[in-house]
């Protein structure tokens, strides 16, 4: 027997208590998923079905939400529509049944692309800055190391709206407002604190002996860093990168205050998808579904490192 390495090795929970615990947890998990399932379903509903009471669980699926998400439409007189050539696609046909014609693509795809560029750009930059700084903090004597590390962390305590005022002014002066570069720099500044703290934890765990052996073999410090430390830290780098990616992907406060067109990301855009007479809920639901889906995948990939990520490396399993 391996002894005390297993918590509760002797005091196993009884099968009955396990079953009860399992039932309660599964019930909670199912309830907690209902809102998400509802959004997913609403994306496939027609307008009237989406606001029916009592709420409809069974309905005929419709592409209306996704069509409205990706197109803009204009209302036309029935006579005008009647003399048009046959509809060119599903969405066009849809629009015509509502006395509308497709006027062009919507702004959703460019906003989504902005989200991608800004999220990946700031993540790449955060990782480059983070991994080098983390290595230096992990391996070298740095004056006032603890203070510097705390300073890096404390930049996270500022409410985003509070820094948004001067950043708004600063970006306006240097021409960075509503640019992707501006958002990439901003998100990097927010994410780099997380990157440094997480990566320092990961690099601390790599035995120094590996590098020292490489140094003895004639590598320089930099070579040892690139050829020994970085490959060893791959898992940590990937996990950290996903955390940075998720933050940048989800960020709203800076995005809504500092971008309006050119560089606007999806989170400030999705809530303003408006149909005739208020929010177009199927389209909003479709947009939300597409936007949340990548995060679902990342959560599954990250599940082993989540604890470390959400506590800035303070807790590890």
């Amino acid at each position: 027997m391996t002894g005390i390495s297993h918590a509760h090795s002797v005091v196993q929970p009884s099968p009955l208590s396990q079953r009860v615990a399992g039932a309660i947890v599964i019930l909670y998990a199912v309830i907690t998923m209902v809102p998400l399932a509802w959004i997913f379903l609403t994306g496939f509903k027609s307008g009237p079905d989406s606001i029916a009471y009592p709420p409809k669980v069974l309905f005929t699926p419709s592409a209306e939400g996704y069509c409205n998400l990706f197109t803009t439409r204009s209302r036309q007189a029935p006579e005008y529509i009647a003399q048009l050539p046959p509809a060119s696609g599903v969405c066009d046909a849809f629009a015509r049944t509502n006395n509308m014609v497709v006027a062009g693509p919507s702004n959703y795809p460019p906003r989504f692309v902005n989200s991608l560029i800004i999220a990946f750009g700031s993540t790449a930059l955060s990782i480059v800055l983070g991994v080098t700084a983390a290595y230096a903090f992990s391996r070298f004597k740095v004056p006032a190391k603890e203070d510097l590390l705390f300073f890096i962390l404390s930049t996270r305590m500022m409410p985003p709206i509070a820094v948004a005022i001067p950043i708004y002014l600063m970006y306006r002066d240097v021409g960075l407002s509503d640019t992707r570069l501006g958002m990439i720099l901003l998100y990097t500044a927010v994410n780099v604190s997380l990157a440094v703290w997480l990566l320092k934890g990961f690099i601390d765990e790599i035995p120094r002996e590996y590098e020292e052996a490489a140094l003895v073999d004639g590598y320089t410090r930099l070579q040892a860093f690139f050829k020994v430390v970085l490959p060893q830290a791959t898992t940590g780098i990937v996990a950290t990168a996903i955390f940075c990616l998720i933050f940048a992907w989800n960020e709203y406060a800076f995005a809504v205050l500092l971008t309006s067109g050119e560089a606007q990301t999806a989170p400030p855009f999705i809530p303003i998808i408006i149909g005739e007479g208020g929010q177009d809920w199927p389209a909003v639901a479709a947009g939300s579904t597409l936007f949340l889906l990548p995060i679902l995948v990342f959560t599954v990939l990250l599940r082993k490192h989540l604890l470390r990520g959400i506590t800035f490396g303070a807790l590890r399993k």
Partner: protein, 320 residues
Amino acid sequence: MMNAPDPYVLLDKAAQATPEPLARRVRGLSDRAIAWLFIAPTIVLLLAINIFPLLWTIWLSFTNFRANRPNATVVGVGIDNYVSVLTDPDVWAAMQATAHFLFWTILLQTMLGFTLAYLIDRRFRGHGFWTTVILIPMMLSPAVVGNFWAFLYQPQIGLFNYAVSFLTGIPASSFEMIGSVKLAPWSIIIVDTWMWTPYVMLICLAGLRSIPGYLYEAAEVDRASPWRQFWSITLPMALPFIMLAVLFRGIENFKMFDMVNLLTSGGPGSTTEVASITLKREAFEKWRTGYSSAFAIVLFVTVFGLANIYVKALNRVKNR
């Protein structure tokens, strides 16, 4: 003494005797140069995008500057902005709304999160899978979440009202979560709890798993009841973890903006106007830049001060 050199002095001498070119070959760039080369870019970025704006905010907070009138003459107003922030009844109302939100979200999330962690730690079959499912809400975009909960909360037709009326028999059209002064503060508490209970759960779970099994074995030998074991082993051992989770949630929820902005945007009236929403209204709708800068500094000092006091308490619990 002089005749008996200790081995360390000898080692030092040997190191000094290493030929300089060899030493350089081993080291390349000096470690110190690399350290600065590696740290400087991060520090420069943070100085440019965090510290410089912070200093600017401090400067603005002593002026009457308005960002929508960049050409008007800027006049120093001393501590007037701070005086008006601290005597503004709207600010105190916002602080109360924030405190109400903080208190209930932290209480509910801690209780639910700890209970869930405790149950998951029974290690029933499939607990890994269900843990991952439970974690999903906290990874999502708060803005998108706030927006689609507005849909679930739709008066009369929303799924939330339907579920409540299905379970309790209260007619679905008899109440409005977002529209009513009484219920709106609870609408944001419910969404925040839905979203962030998994966070507390995950940290508590780490705490429970860190408790060494031999403590329970010893307790069994002493015939301590499960109740007793819970109160004198499980809870005290998990307490530092619970407190850490509360710290992180506290800081985050003090800054809360995105979810609330999309769900209620502070309304109805200003019943759910938490501090960040007030700040946004002052800074970006009324354009009182000097005043809102002072407010921002007050908020920052408050978070920072409270967090520091709390960390001291946390360390005392840890070292007990």
